[in-house]
């Protein structure tokens, strides 16, 4: 186990707004990554850096491997039968796929939110947020600490004022947009250094989408955000950097303004101008 993955985050409730360190070492660096389903290579030889505290959007047409790439970053890809990964994913310089690294520990440090809201239907709103804290039997916070973390996470997700009076209600009573922000709060409760969003607004109405996008804005600087989206306007609105994928390959990556205005690759330009996809 690497140092970083075993060290618990500081217990303080206040979260410091970290800035990217001056040396600009990326929070996550992907090297020569292949992701396979049986013999099908869904992601091919991808190299990409995700800078600390920034929002990176991964865009591309359906089936280009963007979600698969995302799922390689917290070792969720391998939970699918016959799925394999080759290459390296370095979190703060430590390879997540090195021998002896426990994927369960990795997932505790890299949060993930899915396309459809996935609140646990048998749990209350409060217990949903605290679910990640209870994932292991070791080092569980006390009830009071848990209360504080739940409140802080719900505030971060902009949901506290909407649910503070019904924390004991079933999470399924919330609207779709609220459920998705609850899932973000749940992912943030364990204080991950990176959060992965897999088309988080795909099933939401425009107003809920806007709220989630605003939330992504407020997360910037606190955590490293990687968001997969098929919506280019969304990528342009929320991200600092954009990566464009096509047929399993990473075509281009750079600052969002650059990728959208002066793309280097003609395929990127074709996609962004709407010639295909």
């Amino acid at each position: 186990m690497t140092d970083l993955l075993t060290v618990q985050p500081p217990p303080s409730i206040q979260r410091s707004t970290r800035q990217a360190p001056p040396d600009e070492r990326p929070r996550i660096a992907v090297r020569k990554l292949d992701a396979l389903f049986g013999t099908v290579r869904a992601v091919r030889d991808v190299n990409i850096d995700f800078p600390d505290g920034q929002v990176t959007a991964i865009i591309g047409p359906s089936g280009c491997g963007k979600s698969t790439l995302l799922r390689c970053l917290n070792r969720m890809h391998e939970t699918i039968p016959l799925a394999r990964v080759n290459g390296e994913v370095l979190l703060d310089g430590k390879d997540l796929y090195a021998r002896g690294v426990n994927p369960i520990e990795v997932r505790r440090h890299i949060g993930m939110v899915f396309q459809r809201p996935t609140p646990f239907p048998t749990m209350s709103i409060r217990d949903n947020v605290a679910a990640g804290l209870r994932a292991s039997s070791r080092g569980r916070p006390s009830r009071r600490e848990e209360d504080a973390i739940v409140e802080e996470s719900l505030r971060t997700a902009g949901l506290w004022d909407e649910v503070r009076d019904r924390l004991k209600d079933s999470a399924t009573a919330l609207s779709g947009g609220q459920q998705q922000r609850l899932c973000i709060a749940r992912a943030m409760a364990t204080r991950p250094s990176v959060i992965l969003l897999d088309e988080p607004t795909a099933s939401l109405d425009p107003l809920s989408t806007q709220k989630v996008e605003e939330l992504v804005h407020t997360l910037r600087g606190t955590v490293t955000v990687i968001i997969v989206t098929h919506n280019m306007q969304q990528a342009a609105r929320v991200s600092d950097r954009t990566a464009f994928m096509l047929l399993g390959e990473l075509v281009e990556t750079g600052p969002t303004s650059e990728v959208f205005t002066t793309p280097h690759d003609s395929r990127t330009e074709d996609y962004i101008t709407g010639r295909f996809g």
Binding site: P81, I104, M112, R116, T118, P121, A135
Partner: protein, 269 residues
Amino acid sequence: MVGLMGFAALLATLPLIFVLIHLIRQGASSIDLAFFTRMPRPVGEAGGGMANAITGTLILVSIAASIGLPVGIGAGLYLAEQRGARLATTVRFLSDVLNGMPSIVMGIFAWHFLVRPVGHFSALAGGVALGAMMIPLVTRATEEMVRTVPTALREAALALGYPRWRTSVAIVLRTALPGIVTAALVAVARIAGETAPLLFTAFGNQFWSVSLSQPIASLPHTIYTYAKSPYDDWHRLAWAGALVLIALVLVISILARFVTRSRHGGVGD
């Protein structure tokens, strides 16, 4: 065509309606407090009840449930979570075979292993025979219920850093629980009325007994004995016993429906 099918649907419920009406007409008059609290009287004496048979059935069902539920739920969870594994495919097939096995065969099996070596009939042997019948019922029902839990929930738990086993128990099983409880109650109702497996295991008992190592009375078996006797008094008691048995099954079924609609209800809301 629709009319024909509607008629068939009505016909399907007809046996239940006939049975209920007949049982109530024949048996209701014999049911009083004494029926539940008193022991059977000798032939010719009026009154008496089936306290021993009712208690016996409750004991037998408890033994069966304490075997059938844990094994069945565990196996069902395994089958659903390890869908493609060779062991799962084999177990699923064997479980279906077991489900179709005549209950008298289950009784012979229990007799061979639990009665013959000991030398006498026992409540335990009867309970084990019923428990073995319960296992495939609960296994398949649990598997069905666990499969209805969306993959997305499983993934969400894994992504939070839940180990696989904890995901299975704390998220998947917990979400499917109302359905599993319903299935368990239906299975209990089903075996509560079984007679064949008890014929040479629990055997039946004229007297009061709650010992697991002794023969024990049960409702179905007492009904069988009384119904084939030549005495009118016993016939009336048999009708009453049948009514109580049906009522028990009905109550459990209604309870099962109620559980499905509980708050924080799992799948599908």
